[in-house]
């Protein structure tokens, strides 16, 4: 067991346990807070995969911003933990069997496929390579994303605004 293997299984355990809390807790605030260890575990997976820049962005946007946004909306709407109301609809068994079937199908698919290994190595400094690519070959995607961000920001403000 090398350190990489131990780190992978520890991170997978953190992600799956907190993911289970997210999907199954009757207390909606516990679900939202359990998102943080799940996202941080995924950050660790990114670092294991040599994607330091994506890991940093994951901490900033997911573990920081989106979780706080979710908690704000919970406090603005439900007015509490939601423990007094049933949090799950009547499709529990069907949903669980669909999710388990999908997971089994995907796992069978990925474990029975032989994945080829690509040539080359990761750049030693991936943030630099990502920056050059965003302002070079992927400039159109970069600019398009910025327009989508602007549009969705304005849209969110207009949708959430009080109507006179």
């Amino acid at each position: 067991m090398t350190g990489e293997v131990i780190a992978f299984y520890a991170l997978a355990a953190v992600i799956l346990i907190s993911g289970l809390v997210v999907v199954s807790s009757p207390n909606i605030v516990h679900s939202a807070v359990a998102l943080v260890p799940a996202f941080l575990g995924i950050t660790g997976v990114y670092i294991l995969l040599g994607a330091e820049f994506v890991a940093g962005i994951q901490v900033l946007i997911y573990a920081g911003a989106i979780t706080v946004l979710v908690l704000f909306v919970i406090m603005l709407t439900e007015g509490g933990t939601g423990l007094r109301l049933p949090q799950r609809n009547e499709q529990g068994p069907i949903g669980a069997s669909v999710a388990v079937a999908l997971a089994v199908l995907l796992i069978a698919g990925v474990t029975h496929t032989t994945w080829g290994r690509g040539a080359g190595t990761l750049p030693a400094y991936t943030p630099g390579a990502i920056g050059r690519s965003f302002l070079g070959a992927n400039l159109l995607a970069f600019e398009g994303t910025s327009i989508v961000l602007l549009v969705s920001l304005i849209g969110a403000v207009i949708i959430a605004r009080k109507e006179e």
């Binding site: 990489e4 997210v22 994607a51 049933p86 995907l106 995607a141 994303t145 969110a156």
Partner: protein, 102 residues
């Protein structure tokens, strides 16, 4: 040595967890949390394929970064919709929101 298949299996399980939340939760915010889990599962796949299938390029990481950006947009618009629905219908339980117009 962790293989590519291990990462893919992890992301498949996270995706299934997110799907379960989307299908069974009543609270609109909890459904959005399930969607975030599914997007994260997809991102694990993208970064893992970047390392194992095309290590010379950084396209997988760029894809993951754009998906993270769009997920932030989706969360902002989705939560604004939840707030608007709560303001006019006074519920955020999606099985009680069955009106197209008030």
């Amino acid at each position: 040595m962790v293989t590519l298949a291990s990462y893919l299996v992890l992301s498949a399980v996270v995706f299934a967890l997110g799907l379960y939340a989307v299908v069974t939760r009543r609270n609109g915010v909890a459904i959005l949390m399930g969607i975030e889990l599914m997007l994260n599962a997809a991102n694990i796949n993208l970064v893992a394929f970047n390392k194992y299938a095309a290590p010379g390029a950084v396209q997988g990481q760029i894809f993951a970064l754009i998906v993270i950006t769009l997920a932030a947009c989706e969360a902002a618009v989705g939560l604004a919709l939840v707030l608007a629905a709560y303001r006019s219908l006074e519920t955020i339980h999606v099985d009680e929101i069955n009106l197209m117009r008030w």
